[in-house]
Structure formats: C-alpha cells, structure tokens
Amino acid sequence: MRNLFTPKNLRNLILIIVIAGVLILAISGYLTPIFSVSVSPLISAQSWISERYLAFSDFFGSPRDMATLQGENFTLRNEVAQLQSEIISLQENLAQADILYTLLDFARNNPEHEYEAATVIGREISPYLQYIIIDKGSNNGLQYGMPVVTQQGLVGRIDAVISDAARVQLITDAGSVVNVRLKTANVEGQVSGSITGEVSLDMVPIDAQMDIGEVILTSGLGGTYPPNIFVGQVLSLQSNQNALFQTGSVQPIVDFSALSAVLVITNFEAVDITPLVP
C-alpha cells in the first residue's frame, strides 16, 4: 500500500491549507489592515516614480509645447500692453474730464462772470519769472489784463495775447501785486510774489487781529481783479512793534506746479490806473 503521508504530500497539504486559510481570512476581511500597511509604501514609491517619469517626459517633450506657449505668451503680452495703453488713455481722458467738470461746476456756481476755458501749454523760460502760456488768444475774445482763475482760486492775469495763445502772469511772479481782503479780520492788504515763487502778505495794518489760516480773498481795489476770489490762506505772521504794517507768508490755494487747465474771466475789464499813479 502506498503511503499517502509521504513528506512531499504532507508539505503540499500544509501549503494548500495555508493558502486556503489566507484566502478565507482575506475574503472575510481580517487581512485588510495588514494589506493596507504593506501596500502603502508601495503606493508611495509608485507615485514617486510616476511623478518623476512625468516630469522627465515633460522635460524632453517640452520643446514643441514651449514654442507654442511662447507664442501664446507673446500674443497675450501684446494684448495686455494694448489694454494697458487703452486704460492709460482712458484714465487721461477721465482726468481731463474731471478737470473740465470741476471748472464747469465752478462756472455754474459763479454765474456773475463769463468764462473761457483754456489749457496750459507751457511755462516761462526764465526761472525768475512765473508765467504760463495758455492755448486761447484774441480769437477767443481774450484781452490783456483779464483775470485767470481755476475752480480753486486766483491764478493771475493775462499779460500778453496773440491770436491763438496768451501769456499769463501768475500771482507768484515777483512783479505781481494783488490787493486782498482778509475775510474774518475784515482788513485789507497786498499779496505779492517773489522770484522763487513764494507768496507773501504785506500792507496789513499793525493793529489788525488775524490768525494763522485766515482766508485771503481779492478785494477788487485797483480794478485789476474782481472782488471775492479765493487767493489762499495766511501761513505765518510777522509783526514788529516799530513797523507800520504786518507781514506774513501765504499758502496759495492753487497748486501752480500742477496747473493744467484754467478759466479766463472774459467779462471783466481791468482798469488801467497807471496815469493816476504819481
């Protein structure tokens, strides 16, 4: 009789029983934690290899895609540049429109005067003189001596006119003198410019009571400017007991370094009092 329990058969039997047991345990779910623990490093390793491969593949497969992307990038950059220039253009138009609307608003709020809007196209060549050039002239009804303002306040007056341009003497010019009135103190004085563009207050009576920040308006005396145009505010005061008048420095309300558009008061005729001056 053949012996069924030979070592070979016994080993095969044990192997079959072990495999069957593992299968039963796996089907019944008892081996899931063991699988997950043992498979997780493999998945990580696989992911690492896969990523490196894809990177490697992209690197060597990129020249064709790079050229395409560069082309698209160039096109998009052009579009962005074009859009940016359009934005800048629109912003400039908006800024110009804002200025014009503000000037229009000022004109509506001061209906006693007639205005001619003008653009500043240049500044005086000599640093000692504070003048600007505007793009309106006698063809637009501008004449010598007409006051020039902005929505903020007094700018100056027309000094010379040709057909399509005019030269405006600013109140910061050394040769400019404006008769003014201090609003709260209700006293009169003079505002004059300087070669450096600074504005000073003079000829204020020594006994006048006024504070820093006092509002300065044109008085209309002398017939050079219409009354009640905002000039600026008192910045500082100097009074000497032995002096006849108080003096001070003035902060002009208009930013003369950034003037871009002005209004010329066209229905005001300056009075020439030169023959009356002794």
């Binding site: 240049g122 500044r123 003189l129 050394a174 040769g175 070669i195 450096t196």
Partner: protein
Amino acid sequence: MLVYLAYAMSFVLAMMLQYGVFSRWMILSGSPDLVLLLVIALCLHQKQRWFWILILIMGGVVGFVSALPFFLPMIVYMAVYLVSLSLKQRVWQTPLLAMFLLTFSATIVVNFLSIAVLFVQRIPFVFSEALVRVVLPSVFLNMFLAIPVHAIVRELSIWMNPQGAQV
C-alpha cells in the same frame, strides 16, 4: 539753405521742449535753458557765413515769446556767437570743453542780466536768495544737459556738413 532749415527746425523743437517740459524740471527755483544750450552748441559747430542772422532771429523769437525784455535774449545769443568764434580758434580741439565754458559763462550772464532787469524794474528780491536758489541750480542743470545737447548737435552738424577723412 538746408542747413539753415535744419537748424531752424531744431530751434523750434528746442523751444517746444523747453516750454512744455524743461521749464518744469526744477531744482529749488532754478531750471535748465535748453534753447540757450542749443544756441551755444550750434554756434560751436556751425560753419555758415550768415549764421549770425539766424542767431538774431532765434533771439528775437525767444524775446517775443518770453516775458523777458525783448532785447535780452538777442544780446545774449549774439554774445554767445561772438565768443564762440573766438573759442573755436583757441580751443577748437576740445569742443566739449568749449561747450562747458560757454554754457557756464552764458548761464551766469543770462542770470545776472535777468537780476539786473528785476533791479531796474524795482522788483524787490534778495540777491543771496537769487544766487542760491536760482543761479546755482540753473548753472548745474545747464552743465548737466550740455553734454547730450552737444552730442546731438554734433551729430546733426556732421550729418548736415559731410566732410572727407579728417587728418
């Protein structure tokens, strides 16, 4: 004739740039004078016989547009022209040095003539303030701009007056 036309066009361009741009470039209260620099550079590079007439016209135009007295730019530009004739004979081998020399002296002269005009017109000013805040910054800016203006005018001059190989 073409040379005069080119010089006149460059003068017009310089005027526009001066009034539109360079008058706003300020250090303290001083500003550069591009037109003066152009006149100096043209005087140093010109070879035309009747160039002084163009200089007079340039002075007249500046005197007309500017609030300065009409005669002042004409006098200064003619003085620059006459001095440049002498300088070209003496320091002709170093035109940039002549440019610097003329720029410095012409700027000083223009500034002091402007101060003299203010004095005659009885406009009050403090001389030391004018010197520190206007004259010195203007001189610095003009000296600074003298180099590019000289280079541009030199190229223009070479282009308008082609010459053979120089020994």
